[in-house]
């Protein structure tokens, strides 16, 4: 009943609006202002252009300054700091172009509004000007490309040999983490061996897999290069770590990677921000289904010593009785995981050439 009333009121309002509109037109026709093409409204619009520029511009700069702090979440990786610099440099360049062109657009609109008796200036082309405003942007672009290309090559280049390696695997709707264990080699996995207790699909016929361990959160040492190997076992996901300026898709069937060097421990960052609850977070940034927005993983940056202690304390998968039992059952069912299966071989090739040296601190254990 209420909705019907609301509907009725809306309809009546529309009718009133329509009548008023009609009335306005009729009065305009009688007063003769209706046929005049260029009247006061032209001037009003021209002035509004100027007002829009001044008020809008001021509001923009005010709100930008107001939100600037929030826009800049703390950064905690070496390349992240470099990227930040490049970002704000580029923003300055485009900011200049933005102000220049918008100011010209609105002031011209105001200044060259119609005036009776004036005639527009017939000016059809000027090749010299065209060349100038082709070349200047081209030079600016070239320098931005060059800076971007240099940084891009460095960031996406091979990880240092001594990088700490870990693997993050996306699934609907959480992240799984595994570390290579003491042998510093990630063991072979096979998606056909996955079940509820063997979520990675460890192939335990591979010796290197026996000492791998799974962790509920990511731990990385400060000041040391970290190579994240990224997988997905169902749909696309993306590993997104805004504080470290890290992003890479997790692609089923195609392992990807990203390396970075953290520069501040979680504790240091908490102290710096004065927020004892602060945590580095890993988010999913590629639409993956219902729980996409809730795929959060905690990242802890430790002092190297703490990291080594944490690393040593983790139980390897070979200690996980459930997992061992499940693997035995699955490998019997599927005939996989006997060391000779095709899938295991392929995966083994993938992993070859990636035997990073242990973290120097760890080597001394």
């Amino acid at each position: 009943m209420t909705s019907l009333t609301i509907l009725l009121v809306l309809v009546l309002l529309l009718v009133v609006f329509g009548l008023l509109f009609r009335l306005q037109i009729l009065t305009a026709i009688f007063s003769g202002s209706y046929v005049r093409q260029i009247g006061t409204s032209n001037r009003v619009n021209a002035v509004l252009m100027l007002v829009f520029m001044v008020v809008g511009g001021a509001a923009f700069f005010w709100s930008f300054a107001e939100n600037f702090g929030k826009m800049n979440p703390p950064i905690a990786s070496i390349h992240g700091h470099a990227m930040e610099k490049m970002f704000w440099t580029t923003m300055t360049v485009i900011g200049v172009a933005f102000v220049l062109t918008q100011v010209l657009l609105f002031t011209y609109s105001y200044k060259y509004q119609h005036k009776d008796g004036r005639r527009a200036y017939f000016f059809s082309h000027n090749n010299k000007i065209e060349v100038i405003w082709t070349i200047i942007p081209a030079i600016v672009m070239a320098s931005l490309i060059f800076a971007g290309w240099k940084a891009w090559t460095r960031i996406t280049g091979p990880a240092p040999k001594d990088a700490v390696v870990l693997e993050v695997m996306g699934k609907q709707f959480n992240w799984l983490v595994r570390y290579p264990g003491r042998d510093m080699k990630l063991g072979v996995v096979n998606y056909r061996l996955i079940d509820a207790s063997n979520e990675f699909g460890f192939d335990l016929s591979d010796k290197a897999a026996m000492d791998d361990f799974v962790a509920p959160e990511v731990h990385v040492p400060k000041g040391h290069p970290v190579l994240i190997k990224i997988r997905s076992r169902d749909v696309l996901h993306a590993v997104y770590m805004p504080h470290f300026r890290v992003q890479m898709y997790a692609v089923p069937g195609m392992p990807t990677r990203f390396w970075f060097t953290p520069t501040a421990t979680t504790d240091e960052m908490r102290a710096k921000l004065g927020n004892p609850k602060f945590d580095y977070e890993l988010a999913c940034n590629q639409i993956c289904g219902k729980g996409h927005f809730a795929m959060k993983l905690k990242i802890v940056v430790d002092e190297p010593d703490d990291y080594v202690a944490w690393f040593a304390a983790q139980p390897p998968v070979s200690k996980n009785a459930d997992l061992m039992a499940s693997f035995k059952q699955m490998s019997q069912q599927t005939g996989l995981g006997k060391g000779g299966s095709q899938g295991a071989k392929e995966a083994a090739i993938e992993e070859a050439g990636e035997t990073p040296a242990p973290l120097s601190a760890q080597a001394s254990m």
Binding site: G18, F21, Y34, V35, I38, S41, A46, F52, G56, S63, F64, K70, M71, N72, P73, T90, M91, I94, T101, L104, L105, S109, Y112, Q113, H114, D116, R119, A120, F122, F123, S124, E130, W133, T134, P137, M141, I145, A151, W152, T156, G157, R233, D234, V235, A238, P242, R245, Q247, V251, P252, G253, M254, K277, D279, E281, Q286, I287, C288, F293, A294
Partner: protein
């Protein structure tokens, strides 16, 4: 006539209208061609390009309302995540669970909003309307090369629309894998319920849509190449036509690639192939698929997807160029540079697609190449902006509603285009990829500005489409509300994006890093919903004016191009007599020495001895 104050149709006769006496011919032809026509052939299965254009426009408006409603719904969720939405239950039914929007339905909303706006509104509604309407009128042709194919083009679009619209009401929901439909999510109904029948209907609908685009595109290109009137060389074409021409070529070359991607996806979904699927364990089951690559799909998709954004924006660029020149009463500055930059953008648009894929696991070397090509495309885009500015300079500007929207277009294009320089840089894209910064960028540069181009076009060519004028005052109100609204929505979105807030998130409260923008999100939602409601001013104005608007004159804007030499409501065949011949370029506005401040294209140089430039004197003889 030094000013352009009210001029009646007759007083322009000497300069403005076709050089053929048309009264007798007029009636004769009309009787002959139209009076016996059944309404079904006249209004529904019409082969007249003008009627087909109107059909595209009205269907496009319908879709725009649907797309706007969907965005209002998900902005409600983003702005007020704590609110109960029980009051939407009568409309959304089971998609409201316990007063909350279903997260899968949220994804379906963003998916359908994107699909509808990009394809159904800004491709079919914009380019379909104005390519159809203006190409024959502005090149001086009786109709499209094939009226029948043109009719099919609309009816395939209609079919596609029906399928897509029905998919909204499916039990399992419409497609929900994002408008980019990346597999495996879009391939596996186990992954999301929208990838069941919803996705099948999406694919079927898109296949019809592609057919429609190709039928239309082939027609546009053929008409422009073959059916230009006497004297209308390529270098005398209005910029609108150049834009439609290149847009059609882009469509013809890129839509088939989307077709192939869709086809392979259908195979993966229904026939067990593994083009895009590999090593998948889902819903407690390991799938047999091996060796496919989801990245391959992205290459195929963006090979269309990127030209697509230029398919959306180039017609708007063309129309804006035309409207800016007409209402500044000045020639467009750098006509040849404008054509050159359009061609440059068209060529480059084919070799930048992978900038959508910098962090998808594609080889980083490819990333470098695509970064280079992407940032280069900023140069021709910049040239266009500078030329528009130079066109305004020392003009005598008339702010019609169309002109306001054109100025707004330039402003939005600048604001959105510049952030493309950030996103095209692979290094910076590592952080910005898939954040709200991207959302803000493309909504300004191709969403809002293409919409502004569309509005500008409707206000400007409405008199020729319907023989009546739209109400200017309502046009002003519509413009200012929309212009302010769009900036209020998308400027703050950049801030959220710089902080790294990911797109397509149902809720951000779970993350400390993203939870600080609750107020700003509320603000954006409010502005978006208000801006949406402002569009009803336009819709009212549009439909009211079709029936009750002030009667138009033949050439209400004192414009130079050929469509304004037709009668007020041109019949099928466009010109009642002979088609006028063309003698000059389309931008002779405020030419020194000329009597009026515009000289239509069909006026020979011999009639304008006082204004001819030195090289034109020879042409006069």
């Amino acid at each position: 006539m030094a000013t352009n104050l009210p001029v009646s149709a007759q007083s322009q006769g000497g300069v403005g209208t076709a050089p053929v006496p048309h009264t007798e011919h007029d009636d004769h032809l009309h009787d002959h061609e139209h009076h016996d026509q059944h309404w079904l052939w006249k209004y529904v299965f019409s082969q007249d390009h003008k009627m087909i254009a109107r059909q595209f426009l009205i269907t496009g408006i319908f879709w725009a309302v649907i797309g706007g409603v969907l965005s209002s719904l998900f902005r409600l969720q983003l702005g007020w995540p704590e609110a109960t939405l029980d009051w939407l239950q009568p409309i959304l039914g089971k998609w409201i669970e316990g007063g909350k929007l279903n997260p899968e339905f949220y994804l379906a909303l963003v998916t359908m909003h994107g699909t509808i706006m990009v394809f159904f509104v800004l491709t079919a509604g914009l380019s379909g309307t104005f390519s159809n309407f203006l190409i024959p009128l502005q090149v001086g042709a009786r109709d499209m090369a094939s009226g029948f194919m043109n009719m099919l083009s609309y009816w395939f679009f209609f079919l596609s629309s029906v399928v897509m619209f029905s998919s909204l009401f499916l039990e399992t929901g419409p497609a929900a894998a994002g408008w980019t439909i990346y597999p495996p999510l879009s391939a596996l109904p186990q992954a999301i319920s929208g990838s069941g029948t919803g996705m099948t209907m999406w694919l079927v609908s898109m296949v019809f849509f592609i057919v429609s685009q190709l039928l239309g595109g082939v027609n546009y290109v053929t008409t422009i190449i073959n059916m230009r009137t006497r004297g209308m060389s390529m270098s005398k074409l209005p910029l609108t036509i150049w834009a439609f021409f290149l847009t059609a070529i882009l469509g013809i070359l890129s839509f088939p690639v989307l077709f192939s991607a869709a086809l392979l996806l259908v195979f993966d979904r229904s026939f067990g192939t593994s083009f895009f699927l590999s090593d998948i364990y889902i819903a407690g089951q390991a799938l047999h698929n091996q060796g496919g690559s989801p990245v391959l799909f992205q290459h195929l998709f963006w090979f269309l997807g990127h030209p697509e954004v230029y398919i959306v924006i180039m017609p708007a660029m063309g129309m804006v160029s035309e409207i800016l020149a007409t209402n500044s009463r000045k020639p467009i500055f750098g006509y040849r540079a404008m054509i050159g930059s359009l061609i440059g953008i068209s060529l480059l648009s084919f070799v930048v697609w992978a900038h959508h894929m910098f962090v998808t696991g594609m080889n980083p070397f490819l990333g470098s190449v695509f970064m280079f090509l992407t940032l280069i495309i900023a140069v021709p885009s910049g040239v266009k902006v500078f030329n528009w500015l130079a066109t305004l300079w020392r003009g005598n500007i008339r702010f019609t509603a169309a002109m306001l929207f054109s100025v707004g277009f330039v402003s939005l294009f600048i604001s959105g285009g510049l952030t493309g320089i950030i996103l095209g840089n692979a290094t910076l894209d590592i952080q910005m990829h898939n954040t709200y910064f991207v959302v803000a960028h493309f909504h300004l540069v191709m969403g809002s500005s293409a919409f502004f181009g569309l509005f500008a076009g409707v206000y400007h060519w409405f008199p020729k489409m319907f023989g009546r004028m739209m109400d200017e005052k309502l046009g002003y109100i519509h413009f200012w509300l929309t212009f302010i609204g769009v900036y209020l929505v998308f400027m703050p979105m950049h801030y959220v994006g710089i902080a790294g807030f990911p797109r397509r998130y149902y809720s951000w409260t779970g993350f400390d890093a993203f939870s600080q923008f609750a107020d700003l999100n509320k603000f954006i939602s409010l502005a978006a919903i208000l801006a949406f409601f402002a569009q009803f001013v336009f819709i009212f104005n549009f439909f009211y004016s079709i029936f009750r608007g002030r009667r138009a004159t033949e050439n209400p804007w004192n414009s130079t191009t050929l469509e304004w030499t037709t009668p007020i409501e041109p019949g099928h065949g466009n010109w009642p007599g002979e088609i006028p011949a063309v003698y000059r370029w389309p931008y002779d506005y405020s030419k020194p020495g000329a009597e009026a401040d515009f000289i239509p294209q069909n006026v020979p140089y011999s009639q304008t001895p006082s204004s001819n430039l030195p090289y034109e004197r020879e042409l006069a003889e």
